[in-house]
């Protein structure tokens, strides 16, 4: 993202401005904890070796597992494992008193995101997101391709535009927990239409109008609904966000980012270690 605008044609001011949106663009984490908007992911890669964790509340009308019956809590972590590859783990838990067969730790899901193209001055970033196919209940799978581009508006104001397409198919492994000893067995292609809630199934679009990296307003089409939201970032690490889904119910969440690269400050600032 930083090389985005440090292009040959870039003016003097662009590389300077860049400092701001290099973090801003991915400070915002979507419902599954990936850099993105509210439901939809964006194409920008998380900063190299960054690790984030957070929580999202998903209201009952838009619940993935038991739609219109139970709201959900989603806990997520995201790691920039390689410069272009992110790993996302999330845990989806239904809220409230559950029937015995619905209890348990929740649905764990592993997603990966690969940055196919970095953003340049004339082309958007392009990423592909895939859910690991070995879950036996993939109601929350993200299989999508997204493109994102930042457009400077006014000084310190930027528009992050994302468009993409979510696969209307997903992979399911029909397996009982008692015989679930081979993660590569019984893989089946299923239509998202059969699910009670179709997460990322069809065209996606989103716009984030933000002020530096401090916060922004979000609007997105998540393939099913139009959602509006806002977020703020505190101390460059802590994001808080809320959104109105389909003009109907509210989702909210928070996330925190850590960079795994720096050595302890006492060594970085010491002259004697150089």
């Amino acid at each position: 993202m930083v090389d985005v605008m440090c292009n040959r044609r870039g003016g003097l001011i662009l590389p300077f401005l860049l400092l701001f949106f290099s973090i801003g663009a991915y400070a915002q984490m979507n419902i599954s904890g990936k850099p993105g908007l509210i439901y939809i992911p964006s194409a920008w890669a998380a900063e190299e070796s960054s690790f984030s964790f957070g929580y999202k509340y998903n209201p009952v009308h838009y619940a993935f597992r038991q739609n219109r019956r139970r709201s959900e809590s989603i806990y997520h972590v995201n790691l920039a494992f390689l410069p272009r590859l992110e790993i996302n783990l999330n845990l989806l838990r239904m809220n409230g008193d559950l029937r015995v067969q619905d209890r348990g730790i929740g649905d764990r899901q592993l997603d990966i995101k690969y940055l196919l193209l970095k953003e340049t001055s004339y082309r958007p970033a392009l990423s592909i997101i895939l859910s690991a196919p070995f879950g036996i209940d993939n109601s929350f799978s993200s299989n999508a391709i997204v493109a994102s581009k930042t457009i400077p508006l006014l000084p310190s104001f930027y528009a992050d535009v994302t468009v993409g397409y979510g696969s209307p198919y997903y992979i399911l492994r029909e397996e009982s927990e008692k015989t679930n000893f081979d993660i590569f067995s019984n893989l089946q292609l299923r239509k998202k239409k059969e699910l009670r809630y179709r997460y990322l199934s069809g065209p996606l679009a989103g716009l984030n109008v933000r002020y530096g990296k401090k916060g922004g307003l979000l609007v997105e089409w998540d393939s099913q609904h139009l959602n509006l939201g806002a977020y703020a970032m505190l101390w460059k690490r802590w994001t808080m966000q809320a959104a109105l889904l389909n003009g109907d119910q509210v989702t909210f969440g928070t996330s925190y980012i850590i960079d795994l690269t720096p050595l302890p400050k006492r060594l970085r600032t010491s002259d004697e270690t150089k």
Partner: protein, 379 residues
Amino acid sequence: MKRSKLLTVVVLGLLLRPALAQPGLSETARQRVRQNFENVALDTLNHTVYYEQRLYRNPFIGLAEMRQVLDDRRIKAFVPMIQGVPVGRYMLNSSLDMEPLSEDERKSYYQQSPFRWQNYKFDFWIQPVFAAIFGNRERPVQSNTSVLLQTQLYLFRGLVFNGGILFPITNHLDGRPQIIRPAPLFLNYFRAIGQSQFLSATAGTFYNDRYGINLQYRHMDLSSPWSFGLEAGLTGFYYYPRGGIYYTNLNELLLQADVAYRLPVPDLTLKLSGGQYLHNDRGVRFDFIRQFTNVEVGLYAMKTRNGATAGFNFAIPIPPGKILQGERARLRTGEEFRWEYTYSRGFSIGERYRVGYQLDQRLRQYHQNYLNRQYLQLR
């Protein structure tokens, strides 16, 4: 390095030269940092310092701190040791360079600086252990959690006795009594053979309820990408019922071979391993291991006769590290917390046990590229 007169100085020895103190850390702060090290020896003729540190899982922090508090700025070569055995020679130039030590160089150091257990602190650390399975309807997290108070006794060069006490916190995994009991008790012998071969032999009671013997061999040039290893273990099952110990015969063989390739950017190791696991399971496993500065994260998949599964693992330092430290004794937190998540449970797919450290995990922390990338952060 030629055979030379080696000035052997213990931690105390470093303190004899406070006059040349550099601006930066105050003298008291420098003395505090010096206490992080054990078995320090200066070879002023070859501008080399030998030292051992058990505080940090990331050896670079030890290296940078040693550089920070050395009064003699001409010392350019740093030789960290594992259990009294020099690992390699690291030079801090415009980049961090590494040279393997020859057998002769090691011998010369051993002669000049004979092993003395008094060169080591009484070192105690607190180590959490957490094993869990997920997915039970009534109790989503079934865990076996305990806190260990551990220590090491250095017997002679390379040979260390590890022991401690285990304090149980939770146990939903088995019906065994939650009693305060011995932590794993074992002897470990670490040895370097030639320039780039290493051996770790362990005998005693291990983690994961196994006891017996375990041998690990690794050929690893710490500046080249390829390495390979062999591991053999013969173990039985044990646990502590109330008022005694229960154990089976030494009846399970673990046999592993692996080959690993390390990509310098971005500190990614690809490792293919295979062989026999516990419960007579046989198969192969592929690991991607990324070394971040202080944290390691791995992803893996495996296919064995018992099934196929995948998961991830990580190793993180345990804050706060040092708790109390003096010249002769120290209380700290364990240098790392290591944990592995496996997607499948209950099918005994590729299971193994853990001894004190795995040779490949320990050695890749000393790889030149890993340390150099950190060194470049400081320049």
